[in-house]
Symmetry: C2
Subunit: 649 residues, 2 copies
């Protein structure tokens, strides 16, 4: 674990260096600077509102654990929560400062803009990984127990819940609200500064896709390492423990080198997608090479094979996601728009459901091999392998919303079209990486949930369930229902919060007559506040559901029931998440494909039909789908903590 | 079992009496008679095409079983298949003859029309139950083994697969095809005889909602009785066995009395919904009273309680389904149409997903109580209880498409509007009963699958799975994926088959110039053929998937994996089926609510938005959703048969 501390501190220095490099760039003229500042303020205000709800909850929980178990668990919980919050806060601060700087760099050229936006993403990506391992190490030194790291993991899960679910509701409420009144009723173009919700929409990109995604993957990263360390220690002692630590270290080092390499190439790049892809693959290969050398050194080759499967499956899931959300599949989907919106919905739904097949088989095969080679430890280690290069893959992910924001600022500041062209080309790449990132997030959530389940089943000490024990099946039935119910709640939440938003935008347009003529500035802050309140209020019920269900099932059905619950929730949750993410991604790109001039182009009947698909896909892919990742991981870690409490640890 | 024979023969006589009463009615004027005959021919032609594919498959399977196990299993398989086919064929023959007779009776009044259409439904309902128990009894006498009844059940499952999946694809391909060209392109009203696909559409109602639904519930009925008999014999010997037989007998007797009662009330009824509801409740109560008396007589009161839970939950599931697909929920859904089709889709999706919550809890509670009272036998017996009054509940179900057909014939034959009004009011009731019937079908499929699973787990003899055995989880993961993939396949199938249909309708309208002016009759038969071929061709892949997956998983993961597979498939399948059925039903009724003049009425923006919802809901509720019922039951019964083979029975 000492390695985690050393490398973490080194990595922090690198991150600070990167951050300064970004901040020393010009944020442009008065207009772009001002816009960026409004977005910064909006994002911060969302985070602080969130913390106001979040920290009291976590403190009560910490006190509760202190009383019933001891102070160490409370400390672990608080470290997990605080470090994840810090990662999200810092990453978002830089991301919301990198946006205008990317816009301004775009006036100089594509390469410069790519460099700034990717640097911003890299700060987020590396911060998550770095604080993740630093927190782990500190927790370990404080608690002196691998098992109590579960509380650290639980803390991270809580942050993920708030950031992902709250952020997901926020971003879509703002987006849908802005679209309904702005585009449809008032006929304003996208990103028009006269739209009162336009800043809230830009804030939403950061809140959902930077902070939300970051907290989600922080949770996966920490959860899979925790599981692997515990299972590795149990089955292989020191040797197992150490190998996990080294794989994580190799991944972080490779990510840093990959990021430096990518930044070096960025300036002269004229194909951003290729540059980012080469950097990511480079880091993956480097991690594998280092792991291979290590395996040879300690003479334990299975480590290499399992990590290889993890990395490989992560890559393949990305490719399958890309296959279903771009190219031929999307063109075919766009074509169904010629028959009307209903056909777009049916075909897109079928497409998303179909995509569960290949991804499930892949995960299954990886897990079998990992299990055959290293038992339960292998299952967890494959998850660690998949997430080992999170440093760079999250950087690529977080780069997307920065580029998106940069485009919005260019539009709102009225910069020349050439700038917008450059930011648009960066944004287009960001859309693809976002779709792949979602696939990766689901895949890693599935493997993490499996690893946590392995941990739970080991802890629950249930060695002989009768298959005919109905509590297993009934637990699974309830578990399988929860992702559906959870999705219904989050979808309703988006709808209701968007309604609030629509009312506010209408009110402003009516009461401030100068808005539409551009003479008066709308009250952006008010819209941000409404979206924030709406999101936080409506995430309470889903949150309670996620945390209490394992407890209730344990009380009613016992540990076997909880085992069933986790199986059911993971199984139906993973399928639902894949379906929603890929249907949503495909609808988004089908609309874009038509907008490029195909099947009649913008404004045609087909375009309108695909817009319906895109609108349906928004809460699918950005709210409900991603929230399910959190649900299944949080339920798993809650069950583990529950077992440690029950066993009186 | 002797009781099954006696009562079955008595019931057959009653069915024949009912059938003659229908046939002696006038089928009306030349026009209505002719239309009815075309529908009869179309329905028959679909069935015979289906048999041509089906029987070779079943014979090969029978020969296979003969060789590896013995002739008894083949005989059981063939009885199961043949009796289910006979039930479907006979029921559909009468239903397609009752349609025009209902139309003609409607010229005399509502009561007469209700009487004929419900008689038609009753023939279907009673035939399914009667042949179900007769087949069971004969199988038992031939094989002299309760366990070999699984092959009888497998035969019934195969018919259900072909009837439900093939029929589901057929009915929606015809419906969608007729709507796209007829309504949208050629501007013809619903049920216009100039639309070449109009007969295929009417045939589809019978193929999907009469034969398909009938085969689905035949399978549930037989599967739950089989499971209860086996588990009852194992855990309670003769006593357990007998109580199942008596509950089934009480249910059939009560159904017959309820049907007679309803027919008596029908003529003077001016509220068809109420008349049907009273009849159904009457039968349920009578069954419970008889069961209570029997329980007191044999001094085993738990039998009564478990059956009571089954009946009660069946009823409640129906009510919950009604709650989600009518009234306030639907009005709120219709209102979202004012914001556009995307909002209708999102809200309807959330509605369907939300509905999984209450239904899952209900099933869970019923199963727990049943298990606490009678162990695994209780779980199976609750399923039998729920299906005990299938005779009348399926009658109410099958009445719907007859009324729907009657309306179509009235329209096509150009009868006076008053007649159409009467048939429309019958049809409206049918829509509600159809939605409740779907809820009932899913609920019973879930309980049957659970009962079959209990049987499987008992048979597989797995008394000690480690929860950490990854094959359980991986089996569940693959099982959970299958309903999604299966739904994708059936949705694609509808889309592709509808495309064939659209091409054919366009061709006819183009090549036969007299069609649109009404001077030349379109080639109805050709459309029926196209839909039939399209449906049968596209059900092969889903069918193979359903049958082979347990075998493949057994070979790869062993019996524990198959257990996981069944858990995963049932869990995610039940949720998906509930979601699709209720979203679809709500969308359908939201459209109707707007058509009644709300939120702008027919032709308004809101109406168009709700039409999109209805169109999306069609394959959800009539193809993919119901097909999942079959998938989970067929996988369960295949697994059981597999176990008997493996154990070398």
């Amino acid at each position: 674990m000492a390695y985690f501390l050393y490398l973490g501190i080194f990595s922090l220095i690198f991150i600070i260096f990167l951050a300064f490099r970004i901040l020393e760039q010009s944020s442009g003229n008065e207009k772009t600077t001002q816009l960026s500042e409004i977005i910064q303020k909006g994002a911060k205000s969302f985070l602080f509102q969130e913390y106001k709800v979040f920290f009291p909850v976590i403190f009560i929980l910490a006190v509760f654990f202190w009383i019933i178990i001891g102070y160490k668990t409370s400390v672990a919980l608080l470290i997990g929560a605080t470090f994840s919050v810090l990662a999200g806060y810092f990453g978002m601060s830089i991301a919301t400062r990198a946006n205008a700087r990317t816009t301004w760099a775009a006036t100089k050229g594509l390469g410069e803009a790519l460099k700034i936006s990717f640097s911003g993403g890299a700060v987020m990506g590396l911060t998550v990984v770095t604080l993740g391992i630093l927190g782990l190490a500190i927790t370990y030194y404080v608690t002196k127990s691998v098992e109590l790291i579960s509380y650290y993991s639980l803390g991270a899960s809580f942050v993920a819940l708030f950031a992902r679910v709250g952020g997901g509701i926020y971003t879509k409420a703002a987006d849908v609200g802005a679209d309904i009144v702005g585009k449809t009723e008032a006929n304003l173009p996208e990103d028009d500064p006269r739209n009162p919700a336009v800043i809230a929409d830009n804030v939403g990109d950061n809140v959902g896709d930077v902070a939300g995604m970051g907290a989600d993957l922080y949770e996966s990263f920490v959860g899979s390492i925790f599981s692997a360390i515990v299972l590795g220690s149990i089955f292989f002692g020191e040797k197992g423990f150490k190998s996990v630590v080294f794989v994580v270290i190799f991944g972080l080092i490779s990510s840093i080198i990959g990021i430096i390499y990518t930044l070096g190439k960025a300036v002269r790049s004229n194909d951003p997608a290729k540059t980012l892809r080469i950097g990511t693959i480079f880091s993956g290969v480097l991690t594998l090479v280092l792991t291979l050398l290590y395996s040879l050194y300690v003479n334990w080759l299975n480590i290499f094979f399992v990590v290889f499967f993890g990395v490989f499956v992560g890559l393949l899931i990305g490719l399958i996601t890309e296959w279903y959300t771009s190219g031929k599949k999307v063109q075919k989907l766009a074509k169904t728009g010629m028959m009307g919106p209903a056909n777009v919905i049916i075909s897109g739904t079928a497409l998303g459901m179909e995509s569960t097949f290949a991804i499930t088989l892949l995960i299954t095969i990886a897990v079998i091999f990992a299990y055959k080679l290293l038992g339960l430890f292998g299952v967890a280690l494959a998850g660690v392998g998949m997430l080992s290069t999170l440093g760079i893959s999250l950087s690529v992910d977080a780069y997307g919303p920065i580029a998106d924001n940069a485009g919005g600022i260019a539009q709102m500041a009225g910069l020349e079209p050439k700038v917008r062209e450059i930011t648009d080309s960066l944004d287009a790449v960001g859309n693809t990486t976002a779709a792949m990132g979602k696939g990766f997030a689901i895949g890693s959530a599935a493997l993490t949930a499996l690893a946590l389940f392995a941990n739970f089943s080991n802890l629950s000490n249930i060695t002989s369930v009768e298959l005919s024990n109905p509590y297993l099946f009934l637990g699974a039935l309830i578990g399988g229902m929860l992702p559906f119910f959870f999705s219904a709640l989050t979808m309703h939440a988006v709808g209701d919060a968007a309604d609030d938003m629509v009312r506010e935008i209408r009110r402003q347009i009516k009461e401030i007559p100068g808005i539409l003529t551009g003479k008066q500035s709308p009250d952006y802050q008010k819209c941000i506040q409404i979206a924030t309140k709406g999101a936080l209020k409506r995430m309470i019920l889903p949150a309670i559901l996620a945390v209490l269900s394992p407890v209730l099932i344990y009380v009613s059905f016992g540990a076997v029931g909880v085992g069933g619950l986790l199986i059911g929730a993971t199984v139906s949750g993973v399928m639902l998440a894949i379906f929603m993410a890929n249907s949503g991604g495909a609808w988004d790109n089908a609309k874009k494909f038509v907008e490029e001039g195909n099947f009649g182009g913008k404004g045609s009947f087909t375009h309108k039909a695909t817009v319906v698909g895109d609108t349906v896909g928004d809460p699918y892919k950005d709210t409900s789908g991603p929230s399910i990742n959190i649900l299944i991981k949080l339920m798993a870690i809650t069950s583990i903590v529950l077992m440690t409490i029950v066993r009186g640890l």
